[in-house]
Amino acid sequence: MLALLAAASQPENLSILSPASPSAESIKGLLILVCAITGGILVLVEGILIYALVRSRRRAGRDDAEPPQVYGSKPIEIAWTVAPGIVVFVLVLLVGRVLWEVRPDADKPPPGAKPLYVTVVGHQWWWEYRYDSYDGRELGITTANELHIPVSEPGKPPRPVYLNLQSADVCHSFWVPRLGGKTDLLPGRANTMWLQADQTGLFLGQCAEYCGTQHANMLLRVVVESPEEFERYLAEEAKPAIDPTEKTALADKNTFRSLSCVNCHTIRDKQDTRVNGTFGPDLTHLMARKTIASGMVENTPENLRKWVLSPNSIKPGCLMSGFELNEREMNSVIGYLKSLK
């Protein structure tokens, strides 16, 4: 039993039957109820079918005469029109209730709540996160591929998260099964979505609307932290990138800035804003992330090296091109990336 519970809370678990949020919880409840109802109907129908078959099979050999021809019956027809009608009516009511439960208004958080507002931008094939505000504080932090949110502890003020979903290119869909249903990200249209986590831990998911070659590897990672840890995370992310003072580190930085990386990536810096591309993920605090390439591989120096050399060998078809850097340049670039704590 305990082992089962432990297995259920592993990050590898993506089951919608192990909810970790109020909305996933109420959907699970609805699912079980609806399965019970439809399961009952199924047993009934298959039961009648089997019974009818057995009966008519037994008659089959008896004689040559045709069985009595029954053309229909109005009362019976009415009965099996009305009965499903009632079932449908009940189902619609149930659905209505849960629908309002899992899609609350984003602009009206419950009283006393400490809401977090995040803008999520889907890109082919990675996620951009912009922390807009938390508990009334403006934030303005941009990061990628790993979403950190605070947990809502029982008995304390809820910390709902409202995602403002947008897309930079094609349709995507944000889905972390244990935290609730999915909502699409459409270009030219902003959607909102409510997340609220009851447990800390890592929650996985992935893009759920086909969005091109690497749709399969547009993975989602949501880290649910205690409010204190989350505050620390925000504070770290709000800082600009570390400015190297040491000579080699400065050289590494300059190597990086001399490459075309700056066209696509942003690194928030104290003085200047030359590294401000927006086509690829923000790298300001790259090292704070456990994975690269939207969750595909671990964020290790070897993987970074492999990635910069040839992103396609890790993520075929991805939109970052490879760089044939010489050994020295490569060491510099990786050295610099490693400094982006």
């Binding site: 129908v45 008519s56 019976i76 619609v92 629908l99 270009p187 249209r189 086909y210 969005c211």
Partner: protein, 552 residues
């Protein structure tokens, strides 16, 4: 029997026509029977092609991180698989069978517009050729999914001409389908034999009438949407170009306004076929014809207003969501009426377990499962979780195969003797049936579980940390069990042409007019146009003491 005796003598005198002459005859034919056969052959051919693509996808998904198919190829394959199965298997096979059977069933000599009929087949066929032509263009076939969500189909994301082949192919074949539907409407309204009022048509005919109305209403909007897409790609318009004010959202509405009714277009004719087979093999009249007829109309009408249940996750308002929930669920009521009436037809009958009935029973037992998973999906909050997962893939294969394909196999086994004059081998048919139904369940049941465990659809691979491997392996094994059943079917179709038992005119002791003429029927179908008094004219003939028209 008589034909078998004179055969040797007949072959001795006139030499058989050269095969080129036969080929020519089939290419230029305007006979509804030959056209019907062409449609079915096309569908069987594409069923094997589309199935082969599915098989390759299943192999790729056998284990995490396989590199059996490159990502793009996988994405192209599910696009082609879906497109092929819906447009070049499902529609042609249903239209083809109807093309063959309907004029015979209503006692007519041909369809209303024979040349338009031939036009319809050839446009459908060339549409398919055009889609497959994309293999030869730079960039290869499109990788957009069968519902081709914008803006993935726009020039900025799909540069090669693959998408153009796809869109033009569907426009062309869509025009063919629409003319086919018009032809059915005109045929059914105007060509019925004397005495056959609209309330006395065989049930299959009634269903095809409503399906055709459905096609006429929903196919042109798809054509319009595809045209807009092509204007975007070729002329620089911006309908779905989100960077210039176009709307990804509108495409979804336009596509599903067609796409949802389309799935009923794919299943209603199968309902009709089942409604012919079940009575004959239960030896009972169809229970509740009038209610069945009304339910058909209700399904067609309601299903025009449910399309957005494919879009629950797109972020519509809650009210709109709930409206579509309610509309979607309403469809289960008329569908339930049908199911219960079939059960009532079997009940108290005398079962004849020949191959058509086997497949019909497969339909009755399987379709309901797919329908009920549909109802689960129709609960919007549940759909937020399971939409675009393998749960949906499980649902729609369960209805498309458990519904449409079982119905089609039933119909082909039922009418093959009429078409060819020969019986299909019962032994092969049984092998096919059992491999098919077992393989089908083993393939698609685990998909529901994978979906609940969080597996999205249209992913070419998955990480080894995901708990989906075992379910994928079961599904792949299931596909491998299914595969031989399709091959057996194709083999049976061919071999029975000369090895099958001679069928006679009425091998099933059935009741509708097509069994009153010879097998195969002469080009003109009926030497004398029959006159009927009831829905089961041959029953009246065989039971003059207890004819149907006394009760209708």
């Amino acid at each position: 029997m008589a034909t078998a005796e004179i055969e040797p003598a007949a072959t001795a005198t006139p030499s058989p026509p050269p095969w080129t002459a036969t080929l020519h005859e089939w290419l230029v034919t305007v006979d509804h029977k030959k056209i019907g056969v062409l449609y079915v052959l096309m569908a069987v051919f594409f069923l094997l092609i589309g199935g082969a693509a599915a098989l390759l996808m299943r192999i790729q998904l056998w284990a995490p991180q396989l590199t059996f198919l490159p990502p793009i190829t996988f994405n192209q394959f599910f696009t082609l698989h879906g497109t092929t199965m819906v447009f070049f298997v499902g529609m042609p096979v249903l239209i083809g069978i109807a093309n063959y059977a309907i004029p015979l069933m209503i006692g007519a000599r041909d369809m209303a517009f024979p040349r338009m009929n031939a036009f319809g087949f050839w446009t459908t066929f060339f549409g398919a050729v055009l889609v497959y032509f994309s293999f030869l263009v730079p960039g290869g076939p499109p990788a957009i999914g069968w519902f081709a969500y914008a803006p993935l189909t726009e020039n900025s994301f799909a540069r090669g001409p693959g998408v153009d082949c796809w869109a033009l192919g569907l426009i062309v074949s869509g025009i063919g389908t629409t003319t086919g539907a018009m032809n059915f409407i005109a045929t059914i309204l105007c060509m019925r034999c004397p005495g056959m009022t609209l309330r006395k048509v065989p049930f299959f005919v009634w269903v095809m009438f409503w399906t055709s109305l459905q096609i006429v209403v929903v196919m042109p909007p798809l054509t319009a949407a595809l045209t807009m897409l092509e204007f975007d790609r070729q002329l620089g318009a911006h309908f779905f170009d989100t960077q210039a004010g176009g709307s990804a959202y509108l495409w979804q509405h336009l596509f599903w306004f067609f796409g949802h009714p389309e799935v009923y277009i794919l299943v209603l004719p199968a309902f009709g076929m089942i409604s012919e087979v079940v009575p004959v093999f239960s030896r009972k009249v169809l229970f509740g014809y009038e209610f069945m007829a009304a339910a058909t109309a209700a399904i067609v009408v309601i299903s025009l207003g449910v399309w957005a249940h494919h879009m629950f996750s797109v972020g519509m308002s809650r009210t709109l969501d709930l409206f579509f929930v309610a509309a979607t669920m309403l469809v289960s009521i008329p569908t339930g009426i049908k199911l219960f009436n079939w059960l009532a037809t079997v009940y108290g009958g005398k079962l004849v377990l020949k191959s058509p009935m086997l497949f019909a029973l497969g339909f009755l037992s399987m379709f309901v499962i797919g329908g009920l998973t549909g109802v689960i999906l129709a609960c919007a909050p549940i759909d937020f979780q399971v939409t675009d997962t393998y749960f949906v893939v499980g649902h729609f294969h369960w209805v498309l195969i458990g519904g449409t394909l079982f119905g089609v196999f039933s119909a082909i086994h039922y009418w093959y003797p009429k078409v060819t004059g020969r019986m299909l081998s019962e032994r092969l048919a049984r092998w096919q049936f059992w491999l098919f139904i077992i393989g089908f369940i083993v393939t698609f049941a685990p998909m529901h579980i994978a979906g609940i465990l969080g597996m999205p659809r249209r992913i070419y691979t998955y990480g080894s940390d995901r708990p989906w491997e075992i379910w994928n392996q079961i599904a792949t094994i299931g596909a491998l069990i299914q595969a031989p059943s399709y091959l057996i079917f194709a083999y049976n179709l061919v071999v029975s042409l000369w090895k099958g038992d001679v069928a006679g005119d009425d091998p099933w002791d059935a009741w509708t007019l097509e069994w009153a003429t010879t097998s195969p029927p002469p080009p003109y179908n009926f030497a004398v146009i029959p006159t009927v008094k009831s829905r089961r004219p041959l029953w009246d003939l065989k039971h003059p003491d207890d004819p149907d028209w006394k009760y209708e």
